[in-house]
């Protein structure tokens, strides 16, 4: 399937180059009338598909290469693995659920709403069990947040490895969540017996076989964490934790417990496997850093990128990408075409939402010269996205997680794009 798409795309490219040869400034002049315009097309004459045909719509067949993909050699088994959002082919900021990346430690499970139970126990006044319906009776909120796996861009620490924004930066999605603040549920169970909340933790755990569990400091739990049941207006997908998942804004994806089943108030971090063996970063001298929860400001150019070569003639072009920060709003994104010698400030699609993806555009000209494209995000704290070298100087090269370096795409004179590392 993919093969045919590839060939057709190539043919298309050849066609556009031919047109480019004949073209003058101000757009190509047509020498012959376009039959798509002068002849009555089938779709303009015969009728189309009825409303009873597609009770739940999927993208049109022409878009079938806009899908999640995985990298087989990364993990031993696709059951405990990850796939990547096709961010190179999306625009705007909201990720459709159907192509939002998945990461499971023991596979995605089917859990009916009727079988869903959520327990709150530990240092609470009243240990409680909620049903799904109970959750829908608490006041709820809507928020857009990005969810980024701490391992996003992790394969790039040692050098340029994967050729595509989908693979280098696709462990991220951005959705509008509907849910109940975790704070509301904690108060329902009562925090009186927890006394001083400053040194308290909330341990959260999933209902799947991995029973992934993470410790969250009480301060964050009472701040903006959501117990969510809808994403982008509809029920969560199975692969994102249906019927209920935790949303931990701005913090690493592993903490966003799916198939949430238990919330325990504790007086210490549990130090589970996912917060010791995994999601910790080894420095050059062998010491490791833990509790690196916040995802720092980061950005990437999605078009052009290796999977999205420049398909058009010289002249107007749009460079576009995504920026985000776990510390709050994106305030500015700069773009460089020469590998970081010169920078231009890009236009933000709209005012950045806090802890959500922000779309940026640089409306510019494609001169046909090679480019080394980079983007550099800044957030509301004034933090500037670092270069790979800055990160290496700070942490060494043994880290796996939390790589928020500036990404470089090399665009050659044919508009072909490659993932590279530069001096």
């Amino acid at each position: 399937m993919d093969k045919t798409i590839k060939t057709s795309r190539r043919t298309f490219l050849k066609g556009s180059v031919a047109i480019a040869g004949a073209s003058v400034a101000g757009g190509a002049a047509a020498s012959e009338a376009d039959p798509l315009i002068t002849e009555v097309q089938e779709w303009a004459s015969a009728t189309g598909v009825g409303v009873d045909e597609t009770p739940y719509g999927m993208p049109i067949s022409f878009e079938k290469d806009v899908v999640r993909r995985n990298v087989e050699w990364l993990t031993a088994s696709p059951i405990s693995s990850i796939n990547f959002t096709p961010i190179h082919a999306l625009d705007g900021t909201i990720t459709p659920q159907g192509c939002a990346f998945e990461r499971h430690h023991s596979g995605a499970i089917e859990l009916r709403k009727e079988d869903f139970r959520l327990m709150i126990n530990g240092l609470v006044d009243r240990p409680l069990v909620f049903s799904y319906q109970d959750l829908e009776r608490f006041p709820r909120e809507n928020h857009i947040y990005f969810c980024e796996c701490a391992a996003n861009t992790g394969m790039e620490w040692a050098g340029a490895q994967l050729n595509g924004a989908q693979f280098t930066h696709g462990m991220i999605h951005n959705m509008e969540y509907t849910g109940v603040p975790l704070r509301t549920l904690l108060h329902e169970a009562g925090l009186g017996s927890a006394n001083d909340l400053k040194n308290k933790w909330v341990y959260v755990e999933g209902a799947d076989a991995s029973s992934n569990g993470r410790s969250i400091p009480m301060e964050k739990a009472l701040d903006d964490v959501l117990v969510a049941f809808k994403a982008n207006g509809e029920a969560l997908r199975m692969e994102h934790g249906y019927p209920v998942r935790l949303v931990v804004p701005g913090w690493e994806g592993n903490m966003w417990i799916k198939w949430l089943r238990r919330i325990e108030v504790t007086d210490a971090a549990v130090e589970s496997r996912e917060e010791t063996s995994k999601y910790t970063d080894v420095y050059e001298d062998g010491t490791a850093r833990k509790w690196t929860w916040v995802m720092d400001a980061k950005s990437v150019i999605t078009t052009p990128s290796p999977q999205m070569p420049i398909d058009h003639t010289r002249g107007p072009m749009v460079i576009s990408g995504l920026a985000w920060s776990g510390h709050g709003q994106i305030t500015r994104v700069d773009v460089s075409k020469d590998g970081g010698i010169t920078w231009e400030t890009a236009r933000l699609g709209k005012q950045g939402d806090t802890k959500a993806l922000t779309r940026f555009y640089l409306d510019t000209e494609w001169t046909g010269e090679p480019m080394l494209l980079q983007s550099r995000a800044m957030d509301e704290t004034g933090y500037v996205q670092p270069t790979k070298q800055q990160l290496r100087d700070s942490r060494g090269e043994n880290s796996v997680y939390h790589n928020n370096c500036i990404q470089t795409w090399y665009v050659d004179e044919n508009g072909v794009v490659e993932n590279v590392e530069v001096s």
């Binding site: 795309r9 031993a76 405990s80 190179h88 327990m119 709150i120 240990p127 069990v129 909620f130 109970d134 009776r137 608490f138 006041p139 994967l162 050729n163 989908q166 693979f167 603040p181 509301t184 108060h187 169970a189 076989a209 991995s210 325990e264 210490a268 549990v270 130090e271 496997r273 010791t276 063996s277 080894v282 062998g286 010491t287 490791a288 850093r289 833990k290 690196t292 916040v294 720092d296 999977q307 070569p309 020469d338 590998g339 970081g340 010698i341 010169t342 920078w343 550099r376 704290t381 004034g382 933090y383 500037v384 090269e397 072909v416 794009v417 993932n419 590279v420 590392e421 530069v422 001096s423």
Partner: protein, 435 residues
Amino acid sequence: MGSSRMSKSLSQIVLPVAGGTALALSVALVVANLDYGRSKISSLEQRVEQTSLQAEAARNKASEEAAVVAELKAKVAEIQLAAIENATGGTNLTENAPRKDIAYGLGRAALTEEITAWDVDVLPDGRGLPEGRGDVFTGEEVFAEKCASCHGDFAEGVDNWPVLAGGFDTLADKDPVKTVGSYWPYLSTVWDYVHRSMPFGEAQTLTPDETYAIVAYILYSNDMVDDEFELSHENFPDIEMYNTGGFVIDDRPDREYTRWRGEPCMKNCKSAVEITMRATFLDVTPDEGGESRMDHTASENTPTFVASTDSTNTSVETETLEISALETDPAVVLAGEKVFKKCKACHAVGAGAKNKSGPQLNDLMGRMMGSVDGFKYSKAFKAAMEEGRVWNDAELAAFLAKPKAYMKGTRMSFAGIKKEKDLTAIIEFLRTTSN
């Protein structure tokens, strides 16, 4: 405050009246147009004349009335806004869920046996451990049966499955081997994880005794206990893990945030940029991954990007970036940047370069010797400055070839550059460095 409240009460009175007026006006407009259409026409000429006159008049009238309508519309919008504000008592209607710390009375009490069934996590101090015991020998048997197919007979890992043993003293190496023995800071984590998540595909089936035995065996595989060892809830706290002290809590705020805030460089941020690594050389991207058309063989010669030497140019885009098109050969400049590594310990160049143990070397060509503000030069350099000597290609070449010979008494402890090629390169490079 007082005035805004007054305008609100005013708007309440005006709202229905103004709305009514707008309606009446638009009705009048329609009637007027109808009248023009119905007027009597006696001849063709007359008709033409009349029509154009009427059109003119209608246009005038229409534009007059349009202006009135627009004004009214604006007024109505203002009034409506005020009305909304009034209705909500001036508060914003979009708000998050109430932050009450009261109970809604939802959910039901959790029963003790339910809590016991689900609350199985174990904390570093051993809290949460059930009573039980298991020895290395038993552990080896259970491990062989339930774990070895993936993790290997000796927990050394099969294929891509996780390695559980060994890797000691590799954490500072290029590819650290992180195992239970070499990396995990707490034994509780091993017990907790094995008990709740393993074996993969049959999780939450191990009994406490089996788990104690397996954990004892994993310790044994890591040479941390002998083969006689038995692990139990009683001796659990006595086991010391190798890497307990190996972790620090997130230190990015001090280590990185303080340094990485501020206005970033926008122009001439580097002197030259070259590609140092390419993903297509590794080619680990899955084939079905998309449509990259990078020709692996063709583009061996990737360009070098060089900052412009011409600092008088203001047009950022076209003048500061030139690809392989400068009088100075970018390859030579790059070679020079490499030679500069010998100088880096003492000299800085580029944006914001400061004096180190040697003076900053920006815009060196044409610069007076010994002239950088705030740097304490030797007597030799001070004298050179008083003589008005200036750096150029020849002077620099002579100095860098044999610093001590060229400038007797200089404090620059640097032997000199031997190779002609390196000399040319460093000079070309220093031609491009500026703030």
